[in-house]
């Protein structure tokens, strides 16, 4: 290898916790108000199985996790153009807001008189999200985007049932949909009908053929699509769906592309979920937490989960008295830690800043699209502007040089760039789905593009054996699935 990429990730042979040496006698557990008596635990229930977890000193535990952290790549480490995931830098301000003891130390069971401040934050956020989406009313309760989708499908069932149309048992999704869409519809008991895309968009003839007054409950789509293309015929789509008496659902995963430019209400949608952890700025936490609030049009509002935060006589209350509600989908009131972060984010940027963020996100995606499209290719509307992301194919490189999207993704890690989403959407072969977001500088975008272009010319063997600069070399996922070692007792 000559000069090559400059990134080197830390690499420790850090033992597992259960392999660490015992190194302390005590941990702070509070001084009990009276002496513990073993007799308080019924003999039949008391633990006799030993607990394998060493007593390790605090500095060793902190070093353990610090080393693990150094073997982990986050958005603070480098570019993370993971398509459809909106991996943007989130203001550190958010973390300070969420750490405020006046929030972090508030018990969810506190009476309304003790939680007026938090209820006010939630009430304002409900109103703002309603305005942002063009929806009539918003619930903050769902814990994640997928739970928001499922909540919307439960609302869909309840709505049709209330009209004596429980026979509507099908939900239609395009073949480019996020996997959660069909999974959420199925989880709510619907049969999923998938329609083929045409030139990256909804095939209106296929949609017309798929929907019916007898069977169709809803059509779920995201706009812009997972290809990063805005669906121009959205109003016609809404007409087709509504003429069949079905509901139109907006997957809000791609909100980052439209904030301040259009909204789902204007487009004719009936329901929408938000990913507060994407556009509205909660760090992704290695997989979560998130929050998936849902907004709906007026006709669907009675079915929203309880409670909704309401304002009555100048006081904020948790309103449980909604007789047509589907009930609850999540414990307590939802992931409140995301509510305060989203509140801070919206407040910090305001209407103009949020709109500018959208513009730069789209500008950045188009820059990357433009720089790469000669080597990584697309035949789907190649000259139409992208929105938040672009999907390009490595099929040409596979055919000419024998390197696949998965190899390119692994090699990109060596450059200190997280891989794009690969092999999704399913309708593009050898897909690389790249979403740069508004928070990457041009310098960073150039680094991502330069790396991808360099990889296309590298020795195929070097690419196929990547990564070389990560904490470990290519991980054997097949073996992991064949003989699962799922806890340290399996070792």
């Amino acid at each position: 290898m000559t000069a090559g990429p400059a990134f080197r990730q830390a690499s420790y042979d850090e033992p597992l916790l259960n392999e660490l040496e015992e190194s302390r006698s005590d941990a702070w557990t509070g001084r009990p108000l009276k002496e513990f008596k073993p007799a308080w635990i019924p003999a039949a229930l008391a633990r006799t199985t030993p607990l394998t977890l060493p007593d390790v000193s605090e500095p060793r535990v902190v070093r353990h996790f610090t080393r693990l952290a150094q073997m982990n790549f986050g958005i603070d480490s480098g570019p993370y153009p993971l398509g459809s995931c909106t991996m943007k830098y989130n203001p550190k301000l958010n973390e300070d807001v969420a750490a405020m003891p006046k929030f972090a130390r508030l018990h969810p069971g506190a009476p309304a008189a003790a939680s007026q401040g938090m209820l006010e934050v939630m009430h304002r956020l409900q109103e703002w999200l309603g305005a942002i989406s063009g929806m009539h009313e918003v619930t903050l309760q769902p814990a994640a985007g997928a739970q928001g989708e499922w909540t919307s499908m439960l609302i869909t069932r309840a709505y049709h049932a209330s009209r004596g149309e429980a026979h509507r048992t099908e939900v239609v999704v395009p073949d480019s949909a996020h996997g959660t869409n069909p999974a959420s519809a199925a989880m709510a008991g619907f049969d999923v009908v998938e329609i083929k895309s045409k030139d990256g968009g909804v095939d209106l003839d296929a949609l017309r053929a798929a929907v019916s007054r007898e069977r169709t409950a809803a059509f779920m789509i995201t706009n812009p699509s997972t290809l990063g293309l805005f669906e121009r015929k959205i109003e016609e789509i809404a007409r087709i769906v509504h003429d069949a008496g079905a509901l139109l659902y907006y997957d809000g995963a791609n909100f980052n592309a439209i904030l301040g430019k259009t909204n789902p209400g204007k487009m004719g949608f009936d329901m929408v979920h938000f990913n507060l952890h994407k556009t509205f700025s909660t760090p992704h936490g290695g997989g979560g937490p998130g929050a998936g609030p849902v907004g709906v049009v007026k006709e669907l509002a009675p079915f929203l989960p309880v409670p909704i935060v309401a304002k009555r006589d100048g006081r904020f209350v948790l309103d449980h008295d909604r007789p047509q509600s589907i009930g609850r989908v999540k414990g307590w009131w939802g992931n409140a830690g995301m509510f305060v972060r989203a509140y801070a984010y919206i407040r910090l940027f305001g209407r103009d800043g949020l709109t500018e963020n959208t513009e730069v996100a789209v500008l950045n995606a188009n820059y990357v699209h433009h720089r790469l499209k000669g080597v990584y290719t697309t035949d789907i509307q190649p000259d139409v502007p992208r929105k938040h992301e672009t999907v390009l194919s490595a099929a040409k490189l596979r055919d000419e040089r024998g390197i696949r999207a998965a190899d390119i993704a692994k090699r990109l890690l060596d450059y200190g760039v997280h891989a794009p989403t690969v092999y999704f959407p399913l309708i593009v072969e050898e897909a690389l789905m790249i979403e740069p977001t508004e928070t990457e500088t041009r310098e960073a975008l150039d680094a991502v593009c330069d790396a991808l272009l360099a990889i296309a010319k590298e020795e195929p063997e070097l690419v196929k054996s990547a990564p070389h600069n990560a904490a470990v070399s290519r991980v054997d996922e097949v073996e992991a699935a064949r003989r699962p070692v799922l806890t340290w007792r399996d070792m």
């Binding site: 702070w28 509070g30 985007g145 936490g285 041009r442 992991a480």
Partner: protein
């Protein structure tokens, strides 16, 4: 704007991509669907945001402001500074799901450790990295039980929260599954073997749930016999408090197939109810039917130990509508917090923390016995750190009144359990102080006589509708 990185380079980038304006990039959005954000406020500075949020949140009465005796799954526990330092490493908290295992070994190993620790506490062979919370983990367990065994009835104890029942009903929408309640003994607050057997015999049961401690804080003595009572071949789901498991035998020993629980009590702040982590584990033979993300140990190309997500063909991004669950974004960071706190405590610390919680609850109960008209604990079953206190007056207004004395005097139960009448659930933790208990007792002694003449909730026409805690 400080974060929209390329605002300064707009002209150059536009030139490079051959566009004349940013607006041109949005030219494909029809004019008829255009919308702006006029309804939102203008942006303000960071300092102003902090000031504004602090001013609004100042109206909250937190566990720092008043002696807090609230529980019901969420407990006022101490979060060590070291946990905050670990979770605050931005390599952890700004990462996405570890799809690229080679650059995500840190999170993967930490989550493998989380799975192992929960495996130690519950005896389960496979533990996923998280569900959204305890109640949704229970919802997923019912769906999994249905995948394991057909039928139409999921048995649940009457003595679980109304919130869990409502969530369970939603998780069973679109399936033949219905809920049937197993009553509690009004004296002990526990389900009995006879009641469990009777319920199991009366239906086509596809799963049975036992929770210990239950909504009354009571430990279920029936656990060692639950397997026999529900019958071989019927999935047994057990709900736990992970801290209590430090001193309790793992449910695996009682034949549990699935264990669920609320993970907040270890390492996770109250945060008005979320985010937290939902515990979900099962026996090895059921692993391919389980929901959620799993981390496994394997090797890299050079034979070094390595970790990766595994058995992913159960998940939505591969299996779509045939997935075992739709969950994608989960609560990984909170599972990391759980693992970090457990690591700092070690097995002795976990045990002592559990014992301290039990001891402080008993100190609270002894003090409350001195309050005229209060029956505590209302149920005679053994308890961990939470008990029910029967009151001689309406609970909700009493709790509001006690707030003025700097006390949050528990969680009213009348709406969820009308048969229990006016009562509160009160919890103690390692943060419960003698001064706090004294304040609770003093407040109740003053407020109860004042409230005793007010009508009860039922008499006042408050609907006994479920859902509200």
């Amino acid at each position: 704007m400080p974060f929209a990185a390329n605002a300064a380079h707009t002209a150059e980038i536009l030139k490079a991509i051959g566009r004349s304006s940013v607006e041109e990039l949005f030219s494909d959005i029809p004019v008829s669907v255009r919308a702006t954000l006029d309804a939102l406020p203008e942006g303000i500075g960071e300092g102003e945001v902090l000031e504004e949020v602090a001013a609004i949140l100042a109206r909250n009465v937190t566990a720092d402001d008043a002696a807090c005796f609230l529980g019901q799954g969420f407990y006022n526990r101490y979060q060590p500074s070291a946990v905050r330092a670990i979770v605050g490493r931005s390599e952890f908290y700004t990462a996405y799901t570890p799809y690229q295992a080679e650059v995500s070994q840190g999170m993967l190993q930490a989550l493998f450790e989380y799975e192992s620790i929960v495996g130690e506490l519950t005896g389960m062979d496979a533990v996923n990295t998280s569900m959204y919370d305890g109640p949704t983990a229970l919802g997923e367990s019912a769906r999994m039980a249905m995948r394991m065994k057909g039928g139409d009835t999921f048995l649940i104890p009457r003595a679980i929260s109304a919130e869990k029942k409502s969530i369970l009903r939603n998780y069973l929408v679109g399936t033949p599954g219905r809920l049937a309640e197993v009553p509690f003994d009004p004296k002990t607050g526990q389900i009995t073997r006879a009641a469990l057997e009777a319920a199991a015999a009366g239906h086509r049961v596809f799963g049975a749930y036992v929770e210990s401690p239950n909504a009354f804080g009571v430990l279920e003595d029936v656990l060692p016999e639950a397997r026999e009572a529900v019958g071989e071949g019927t999935p047994l789901v057990v709900g736990v408090d992970p801290l209590a498991q430090a001193v309790l035998e793992p449910p695996a020993s009682w034949g549990a197939d699935i264990v669920v629980g609320e993970g907040q009590g270890i390492g996770i702040p109250l945060q008005f109810g979320g985010p937290t982590t939902g515990i979900f584990g099962c026996r090895r033979e059921h692993v391919r039917k389980m929901p959620g993300r799993l981390i496994g140990m394997t090797k890299d190309r050079d034979g070094r130990r390595a970790f990766c997500m595994t058995l992913i063909t159960r998940e939505q991004h591969i299996r779509r509508q045939k997935a075992t669950s739709n969950i994608c974004t989960n609560e990984s960071l909170l599972s990391l917090a759980f693992a970090a706190h457990a690591a700092l405590l070690g097995r002795s610390g976990l045990r002592r923390l559990a014992e301290t919680n039990m001891a402080n609850a008993r100190a609270m109960v002894e003090a409350l016995r001195g309050v005229a008209g209060v029956r505590v604990p209302l149920f005679s079953g053994p308890y961990f750190n939470e008990v029910v206190a029967k009151l001689p007056c309406p609970a909700a207004p009493l709790v509001d009144a006690c707030l003025e004395d700097g006390v949050v005097a528990g969680h009213p139960l009348a709406r969820a359990f009308p048969e229990v009448g006016e009562a509160v659930a009160l919890a103690a933790t390692e943060l419960t102080t003698a001064a706090g208990v004294e304040r609770l007792v003093r407040s109740l002694k003053v407020r109860i006589p004042l409230a005793a003449h007010a009508p009860t909730a039922a008499a006042a026409g408050v609907p006994a509708k479920g859902g509200a805690p």
